[in-house]
């Protein structure tokens, strides 16, 4: 297939303009930004109310019951943990394999990682019967001489998630330091102070850059196994049990693939949103979108393949309960969810195979939402049907959540959205120094070595407002 190679980014873009554009994003986004933020905050308010009721009255308000001790909260937990993987994928994995098209979009992907982890971390608390004793899962020295049960995957979860959260927050922060310095240099008042503190005295000296590169690379190397292990451990919550539909060997890779998948889908969604909110058309370009979409498509196929493996191993295996459950999933009360999940997860991504659709933002937006819906259903299909139809038929039941449960799960999207939107407004959501680097490298490889012009940014951009007619 012959195709005109389109440029990922216009390498003629001036470094100064990069600064101006990105800094401008922190000032005046389109009104849609404020609307979205307001919606998100409203959702969080509803969820807080619902959680208050659940906390005071009891977990029963979520319609949890004897077979369904876990339900949507755990599905949402897995979903958000999964979501967090894309940031690591984009920033760390692609960084290591030198895929430099990641540069304009990795910052918000990393932010997504952090905030989806912060969202995920709330769910174990929401769903705990006695949340005020949550700290008992952590090993701390106590007079009583009792420790958590190190055999429990939930304890592993606690370790894995806190570690991953710390690491990804650090990674995000470290990667932002040069940009924070730019912000510091271009703001006034309390913002200048804030960025000044966060920039840790960055002046861009050679020595600083040298250390920066090293630490960034090291952290990227550290983060990748961590990310893979986190979702493997989350999958162990299920795989370590003896329940049909949970006790499946292929769960760790399946979960990791699912995680990357939903993460990529979410990146597409946020890509489009940010591009619109902040008028980032110059940076979040169509070719980059195309590359992201292709990546997503590839992961979708991996996920589909792992699904098929799971089905086949259940089908040809000896576990009658497992097989019975698989059939029940496909034909029983949850069949519509099962098939929606397969459609959204395995059929719909073929839309990403078409160049025309890949380049059509509204389509991509809708498709990415459906991909994520499919992935949410996938998590729910892992958690609930197993409990509905486990070994003991007397306790079989059909589960549909309560309004409280729905409110809290929807609220988690609001919570994530709120944190994310505030972040992209307060911090540069496009990595200025990396984009500059990208432009420079592109130019370099294109043979345009007009370094003099490239580096012409003697005058710092002090005026960050104006432009765009907003």
């Amino acid at each position: 297939m012959t195709m005109v190679t389109e440029k990922d980014i216009n390498e003629q873009i001036a470094w100064a303009k990069i600064n101006t554009d990105v800094l401008k994003s922190m000032e005046n986004p389109r009104p849609a930004y404020w609307v979205t933020l307001a919606v998100c905050i409203a959702m969080v308010a509803c969820a807080v109310l619902a959680e208050y009721i659940q906390y005071t009255v009891g977990m029963g308000t979520a319609n949890l019951n004897n077979p369904h001790m876990w339900d949507m909260y755990i599905a949402a937990f897995v979903f958000w943990i999964g979501m967090s993987h894309s940031g690591t994928l984009l920033s760390a994995i692609l960084h290591l394999i030198h895929a430099d098209w990641r540069k304009p979009i990795y910052r918000f992907a990393e932010a997504m990682t952090t905030f989806s982890l912060l969202t995920a971390g709330i769910f174990p608390m929401i769903h705990l019967g006695r949340v005020w004793n949550l700290y008992w899962v952590l090993p701390y020295v106590s007079d009583r001489g009792i420790w958590p049960n190190f055999r429990s995957p939930l304890v592993w979860d606690a370790f894995a998630i806190t570690t991953y959260l710390t690491a990804s927050m650090l990674f995000l922060f470290v990667g932002m330091i040069p940009d924070l310095a730019i912000c510091r240099d271009n703001t006034t008042g309390w913002r200048k102070k804030l960025y000044g503190i966060l920039a840790l005295g960055w002046v861009g000296s050679d020595r600083q850059w040298r250390h920066f590169r090293k630490i960034y690379l090291l952290m990227a190397c550290f983060l990748i196994p961590l990310a893979v292990s986190v979702h493997s451990i989350v999958s162990a919550d299920f795989a370590m049990s003896i329940m049909p539909g949970w006790h499946i060997t292929s769960f760790p890779p399946y979960f990791v693939a699912g995680a990357l998948y939903s993460g990529c889908a979410a990146i597409i969604t946020l890509f489009i949103l940010l591009r619109y909110f902040f008028r980032f058309e110059d940076y979040m370009t169509l070719p980059i979108m195309e590359k992201t979409a292709k990546l997503t498509f590839a992961i979708a196929m991996v996920w589909t393949y792992l699904n098929l493996i799971e089905f086949a191993s259940v089908w040809y295996g000896h576990d009658v309960y497992n097989k019975e459950l698989l059939i029940a999933k496909a034909t029983g009360a949850y069949a519509w969810i099962f098939w929606t999940m397969l459609f959204c997860g395995s059929i719909l991504p073929f839309a990403l195979a078409f160049r025309k659709l890949r380049r059509h933002m509204p389509t991509m937006f809708v498709v990415s939402l459906f991909l994520n819906l499919g992935m949410f259903f996938e998590r729910w299909m892992i958690v609930a049907p197993t409990l509905s139809m486990s070994q003991e038929p007397h306790q079989w039941d059909i589960m549909y959540g309560s309004i409280i449960e729905w409110a809290i799960v929807f609220g988690s999207f609001g919570w994530f959205g709120m944190l994310f939107l505030i972040f992209v407004k307060v911090f540069p959501s496009v990595s200025m120094y990396e984009v500059k680097e990208m432009v420079f490298h592109r130019k370099l490889s294109a043979g345009e070595e007009d370094l003099a012009r490239m580096t012409d940014h003697a005058k710092p951009v002090t005026q960050t407002t104006g432009g765009g007619g907003a």
Binding site: E324, P393, H394, I398
Partner: protein
């Protein structure tokens, strides 16, 4: 009387509250931090030596949750009764106790108990003092004409029964109505006529085979625990007993049958006659003792005809009859579904005749002997008394009635017109523990002690091999000082009439002590003194009584031929259930929450139908339907069960209370309300199982409206090895016969 002082002194204190259960175990962090000096510890004043705080002590008493009168042990700690268990010294229940007995503590601690006397003033019941209540009682009963006064009770026995009879005598009245919804009155009449004893001793444990025509002997029967114990022996005998249950609605007992046969309701007599025909004419068993008219009647019922009428397959009938002839001794039983037919007496007689033919009398049906204290024996209730009472009330023949232990306003069918007729009774007194329907209709309400606070004796009607008087003693101090024991109230009433005879007894306790002392030495065994006899009786809870031995003589009585009824309608079976029983336990949350044994419904009423019948009427599972009889209709949900005959619908008893406290009120419907007032001609008992109804679908299924336990997988084991059924031959091989 120092013994009494000591005996009671331990009850005076409520004990060690610090060891009680005040706080919940696990809770918000704030309540775990303890502060010194916030909790009271109450010390004993003068405890008995065996009373140790923190250690439970078991006391013997007697259960009154149903008329069976099982012996119980109550665990008492820090002055509170916590748990009831069967009394191993009571031969009839042998240390076991059914769910209703277990839930007795909830009646005792019920939050809806009446705690003060009340009198109707200006249309509503208002609290008054005991002095005033007793004054009113004395005044009203003093003016009433003897034959216009009546007692209305449930089954009553022991010394309370003696006092009650004496009170009636003192009033110059003979009107004692004893009413029980779950009764065996028809069987008693048949037994009296055929065997000369109303309550012969059934020996299920000696039978090799039982054919039960709707007798739910392990469920809502006269003595469920006793018969369940016998059933266990019947099953574990060297030759495992064979249980065949023939009924129109699967009962709890039917659930355990080796063969459960559905029979068209009202045709049991035909089947019994057909089986007799086979036994006499085909298997050639001697027809000695069978009157000629019955013999002729039997000959008209050949298998083909019987199979057509009853809906039971001919080969099944032949096989069952064959087995009956082979496995002697056997036992044939008739249950409520048989007794409660319009021809109840005839049907029951036809069934009991099979025992005669098979020679079971004297083997599995034994004489209960002559109980040496006839005055203490149970006055067993039935529905004939309810009918008679309603008639008398309608005819304005009653001016004053005292109600106790029965709830006629709830359990009388509307067709009897009792609710309206109650207005004809000038003065209605309810001696009652709970605000049930009858109590709420009374003019004077006297709060009575629970059976765990009261003294008394019970003489079970269905005695085990060892006859006994069961002793009831308070297991704890009264929860509320304002309640009085039944015996005390009776004694007060008697004192009002016959001061000279009863003035010597300070209270019912003193009366009982006196009565025990007056008992013949034969029952006192080796007791050296009256005190020792008393203490032993309290400790064991039973007084063993030798009733002697007697041999039963069996005669077959003539009975009317079954009416050929080709009416194709549905018959309503108001089936009692072990649990709520006849509705008296609807206020005990444990029993409301315990699923019905067969349909697994909780907290509700429902109508059971066979799926085929329902399908013909376009009714699906859990649909809302209207069940209508000539007397009215009720709306409730359908539960489809295959353990039903196609021509029968069953509505379990127990719900549909309009009063009776927070747990009972407003739940479900009361099928008794829509029954016809048909009675059995011979005994006058209500024919409760003969009402024809129509069923109409009025609303769709709604999962929220009826709650059943564990129906997710459609009541199927889905291929799991959960309950495995094996043929008896295999067990004979591995475990020996």
């Amino acid at each position: 009387m120092s013994g009494k002082m000591n005996r009671r002194s331990f009850l005076k204190v409520m004990g060690w509250s610090g060891a009680g259960v005040a706080l919940t175990g696990c809770d918000m962090p704030t309540t775990v931090t303890l502060e010194e000096g916030k909790e009271d510890v109450v010390s004993y004043l003068m405890p008995e030596e065996y009373v140790i705080p923190g250690v439970g002590v078991w006391y013997a008493s007697t259960c009154t949750q149903c008329a069976a009168g099982c012996g119980i042990h109550g665990r008492v700690r820090e002055g509170r009764v916590l748990k009831l268990e069967g009394n191993p010294d009571a031969a009839m229940n042998n240390g076991k106790l059914c769910m209703m007995g277990q839930a007795g503590v909830q009646g005792h601690y019920n939050p809806d108990r009446i705690n003060t006397p009340m009198m109707r003033t200006g249309g509503s019941l208002t609290p008054i003092s005991w002095d005033k209540a007793l004054g009113v009682l004395e005044e009203k009963l003093g003016t009433v004409n003897g034959d216009r006064f009546a007692w209305f009770t449930g089954t009553i026995s022991g010394h309370q029964s003696v006092l009650l009879t004496n009170h009636l005598d003192a009033m110059g009245s003979t009107n004692h109505y004893a009413h029980e919804v779950v009764n065996n009155a028809v069987s008693r009449a048949v037994n009296q006529d055929m065997l000369g004893e109303a309550n012969p001793r059934l020996r299920l444990d000696k039978a090799k085979m039982i054919v039960s025509f709707g007798a739910d002997f392990m469920g809502a029967s006269q003595s469920p625990v006793q018969y369940a114990g016998q059933y266990a022996k019947f099953r574990t005998n060297k030759e495992r007993g064979l249980l065949i249950q023939i009924e129109s609605k699967m009962s709890l007992t039917g659930g355990s049958a080796d063969l459960w046969l559905a029979i068209k309701p009202g045709t049991e007599a035909v089947l019994a006659l057909g089986m007799a025909n086979l036994l006499l004419n085909k298997i050639k068993i001697s027809d000695a003792g069978i009157p000629a008219d019955v013999r002729t009647l039997i000959n008209t019922y050949d298998v083909t005809k019987v199979a057509r009428v009853t809906g039971v397959a001919g080969d099944r009938i032949q096989r069952v009859t064959q087995l009956l002839s082979e496995r002697a001794p056997s036992l044939v039983l008739a249950g409520a579904g048989v007794e409660g037919q319009a021809q109840g007496y005839a049907t029951t007689a036809a069934i009991m005749m099979l025992n005669h033919i098979l020679g079971n009398v004297g083997k599995t049906i034994e004489s209960a002997g002559d109980f040496p204290f006839p005055q203490l024996m149970a006055k067993q209730g039935g529905t004939a008394d309810l009918v008679a009472f309603a008639k008398a009330a309608k005819a304005k023949k009653l001016d004053a009635v005292i109600f106790h232990g029965s709830n006629p306003v709830y359990s009388a069918p509307k067709s009897l017109g009792l609710t309206e007729a109650m207005a004809n009774i000038g003065f209605k007194v309810a001696i009652s523990q709970f605000p049930d329907e009858t109590t709420m209709a009374a003019d004077l309400v006297l709060p009575v002690d629970s059976y765990l606070e009261d003294w008394g004796t019970q003489v079970p009607a269905d005695q085990a091999e060892a006859n006994a008087i069961h002793v009831q003693q308070p297991l704890m101090e009264k929860l509320n000082a304002e309640t009085k024991g039944l015996g005390d109230i009776l004694l007060t009433l008697l004192k009002q009439r016959k001061k000279d005879d009863y003035g010597q007894f300070e209270d019912y306790y003193a009366y009982l002590r006196n009565a025990f002392s007056a008992m013949p030495t034969s029952v006192k065994n080796d007791a050296k003194s009256n005190d020792e006899f008393w203490n032993t009786a309290l400790q064991t809870g039973v007084i063993k009584v030798d009733a002697g031995t007697k041999t039963l003589q069996s005669t077959v009585v003539s009975f009317a031929a079954p009416v050929e009824d080709d009416n194709a309608g549905l018959t309503l079976l108001p089936s009692p259930r072990l649990g709520l029983f006849d509705g008296r336990h609807a206020n005990l949350p444990w029993l409301q929450e315990a699923p019905d044994q067969i349909s697994k419904v909780v907290w509700d009423s429902w109508v059971e139908m066979h799926p085929d019948t329902a399908a013909k009427m376009g009714i699906g599972n859990l649909d809302l339907v209207e069940v209508s009889s000539a007397q009215g209709s009720v709306k409730l949900r359908v539960v489809l069960l295959k353990g039903m005959h196609a021509d029968a619908v069953a509505i379990p008893l127990g719900q549909g209370h309009e009063a009776y406290g927070r747990y009972a009120k407003g739940l479900g419907v009361n099928p008794l309300q829509i029954l016809d007032a048909t009675t059995d001609g011979k005994t006058g008992e209500l024919a409760m199982y003969s009402t024809r109804v129509t069923v109409k679908r009025v609303g769709p299924a709604d999962s929220l409206s009826i709650v059943r336990m564990g129906t997710g997988a459609g009541d199927s084991q889905v291929g799991r090895k959960l309950v495995v059924t094996v043929p008896v031959e295999q067990v004979r091989r591995t475990e020996g016969t």
